[in-house]
Symmetry: C2
Subunit: 491 residues, 2 copies
């Protein structure tokens, strides 16, 4: 059964349309909202994908584009990158080539393709697109483009099935998630990821150390570069588009976290810290970073350099542990670029409002403008069960200051694993934050959405207002016939 | 039946305590959270009141203090202010007197009483405390103090009963509302307000023009200064602590709103604009402002100078209509101060993030530091049903920049009237915003709450974490046994 492209929002008033590019198979999706009266339709960025039968997966939209570039030898179930090639969007951008993916993105963002190519070439934007994930609809992450939102999903050892996780993927992208990270743990990591990638029209990110840890029965001390490398290759071959790698958690930095209120809260960070301390050796991800770059370059996997020492509380924000790691991430950014590998940088976490800007400014300086990708940040620690809100505040602000992608936080943060409702609540809160940031940055065209909705509101065109809403279902459900019928319309 | 002071949060681990001041009846409430192990208890600001039987009302805590000052002749059911007296906290502060109310507030905020007196004397803070609302527990609104949150409630002509509104009052203050505005419309305005004031331990605000409009059958053109004056006196005698007055909506400003996307969206603003246009005369509230001050001074009613021309959409933010009115509010602030009347200034509304700071800076400059009291602002218009979130972002930021009180927005904003769940959602979102602002302002002691909760989190003291949470009920309900048992604790 093919999933519906969109559920029935306002009948036919909100529907998917495609804008065709320079080749007939380059079709860029938008959600078009038709309005009543003389009001022109509004086109919204659309992440919901074409809809798939979970058993079959999505059609390989990018397959012909990848094949045409000749970097990959087609084999059953994917491709094998040719030895010695670095078929990354960064390499092509640097070579002056506007790829089909870049053209797709340019149409999607409403900018000239040359802008896309230049931003990628300069390392200020990434276009995560593994050659083995041809099902993805290209998107871009960079401060000159629309602020993006990532949603985390994933099975745990205890609960949830693969079907449930694929459903969460579809659900998250329906509400606007631009990328999805599969943070599955437990025994069925590989097959869960396979189901997710084959059904995903958005880039998929992972944290390979989680799977590597499963292979050594959960004991961080038993980890090794060899096990990690094997895991990365396995995931790259499956089509993972970006990978979080905690290569900046260096042995000398670990003691800097000792006197914190909340120590090391990143799971990957604590795994690597435990390994470093147990062996009293430098982080093997740091030591083998160049080889890792060569692997990622072959598949065009983008680095998401993890902030393993990110603060886990207001008290620990912007401390020496955090910024020491950030300096190392800056160093690694240049190494990745030397290998034509795309890079983004992960950021905190928990940060009070007055310390948010410093995070972006320092990251941009130390990492030479590489895109920043932050978790929240939460602006206070006092509201467990509402951390989608404590962090939407921080996310909106950090987006305004130049962060390119915001990793969502759900109401269950710190308390449990998110269910379907939590995924929606997190995505919606973060779409709000991202759009508020787009407005504050003066992103061309961003305000047209607000203006169309506000005009509909002022003219009591309720259905137009609902169809334009970020969440038409809930807006419609909340509309109450008891609302005074005709408020203020004097001027 | 006496309402419970607090519902049973964590058994006896979170309970009300009182700190006694210089007289035995000056007892300041706190919520004290007892923690396990060697961790010292945490005292939180408490707005929940002593609990009342709705049929009887609260005891008159401030009765003896007011009587001792001799400004009021006690009569049955309240007091009659003596002619010629201006028994306002501002007048006392200017005379160098630290009133019992000021001492109460100083203990509540953890500052020296002289700071409270100085801030009130300078007009930088207000202590709304009508001599006829002796049931209130004194609180202060000013940028040097904790950021406060207001919740709006009120019956409409169509729905809800008085008992329901009293219940919403209790519910709102239980979750942390510092003041409550009764925006009732319909026929039973007076008795609804009576029930609310008699049961309220927090200051009550109103918009008297709403009741005045009921008296002229809803036709703004029939309004007059006489009807308004009579209404203000009626409400002042009942004990309303602060009143929104749209005296800055001047006739020449109305045309400035004509080309807006959303015209005039403030109900009071549109009422006054309609009156001005119909009569082609200047706003009678502006024309009679000095007499209005004399009335408010007798009861110590605080002005909340309304922003009738506040923007109703992102498109209209920071425009000439809005700032023209703000200049007039600055002029009126000085007139009120000449009459020893306390003043705060209302602010927008809908403002994109990059235009928020300008609002506070201009208000502080034009109104000589009088406290700013803003509705949100919403930072985007695209998310009806989530405007508690779109506006919590703006509220946190405007609080950081110096706004003293934040008027909540509920998920039903623009869609319907808030029910009990909406009231809670709005208050919680705004307590988050206010506390995030306290942290960002470096308010002394604010971070202790975050630190205690984060320490409990890091040490897996789940019950301590729940009891410290802004909403212990939901945090406890969301806690999920499937959460991995022992995350990152390396450092």
């Amino acid at each position: 059964m093919v999933r519906p492209v969109h559920h029935d929002w306002g009948g036919n008033m909100r529907r998917k349309v495609y804008v065709e590019g320079s080749r007939p198979d380059l079709r860029v999706p938008f959600a078009e909202v038709e309005l009543t009266g003389d009001n022109p339709p509004v086109r919204l960025y659309d992440t919901s994908g074409p809809g798939s039968d979970p058993e079959v997966g999505l059609p390989p939209l990018r397959g012909p584009w990848i094949a045409a570039r000749g970097d990959v030898a087609p084999v059953a179930g994917g491709g094998t990158p040719l030895a010695g090639r670095r078929p990354t969007q960064l390499a092509y951008a640097r070579a002056g080539v506007v790829t089909d993916e870049m053209e797709f993105v340019a149409i999607r963002e409403g900018v000239d393709p040359s802008v896309v190519r230049e931003e990628i070439a300069a390392g200020r934007a990434v276009l995560p697109a593994n050659v083995n994930h041809p099902e993805s609809e290209p998107m871009i992450i960079g401060s000159r483009f629309l602020v993006k939102v990532n949603a985390n999903i994933g099975t745990s050892a205890v609960t949830s099935s693969i079907a449930e996780e694929v459903d969460k993927l579809t659900w998250a992208t329906q509400w606007g998630a631009d990328t999805v990270m599969d943070l599955s743990t437990g025994k069925r990591i590989h097959e869960t990821r396979e189901a997710i990638i084959r059904n995903s029209a958005v880039p998929i990110g992972t944290v390979p150390i989680y799977q590597a840890l499963e292979k050594v029965d959960g004991d961080p001390v038993k980890l090794s570069w060899e096990i990690f490398r094997e895991t990365v290759i396995e995931q790259a071959e499956q089509g993972v588009d970006y990978m979080t790698v905690h290569a900046g958690v260096l042995l000398p930095y670990v003691p800097l976290a000792v006197n914190r209120v909340t120590g090391i809260v990143s799971r990957g960070g604590s795994i690597m810290a435990a390994w470093c301390l147990a062996h009293h050796r430098e982080n093997f991800l740091y030591e083998n970073f160049a080889e890792l770059c060569e692997i990622l370059a072959r598949y065009d996997v983008t680095f998401s350099l993890g902030d393993g020492l990110r603060p886990g509380s207001i008290a620990d924000a912007n401390d020496e542990a955090q910024f020491a790691e950030l300096r190392t991430l800056g160093e690694l950014t240049h190494v990745a670029w030397e290998h034509d590998v795309q890079v983004m940088i992960e950021g905190p976490g928990h940060v009070p409002m007055h310390k948010i800007k410093e995070n972006v400014d320092l990251q941009q300086e130390l990492c030479a403008g590489a895109p920043f990708y932050t978790l929240g940040p939460l602006t206070t620690d006092i509201a467990p069960a509402y951390d989608h809100i404590t962090s939407a505040i921080g996310a909106a602000m950090i987006g305004m200051f130049g962060t390119a992608m915001l990793c969502y936080v759900t109401p269950k943060e710190h308390l449990g694993l998110p269910d379907r409702d939590d995924v929606k609540a997190g995505v919606i809160a973060y779409k709000i934050a991202a759009h508020a940031a787009d407005l504050a940055k003066g992103h061309p065209g961003a305000q047209a959405w607000d203006d169309a909705l506000s005009k509909a509101r002022f003219e009591f065109r309720w259905e137009d207002q609902f169809n334009l809403a970020l969440d038409p279902d809930t807006a419609r459900a909340y509309h109450d016939a008891t609302l005074p019928a005709a408020p203020a319309k004097t001027a």
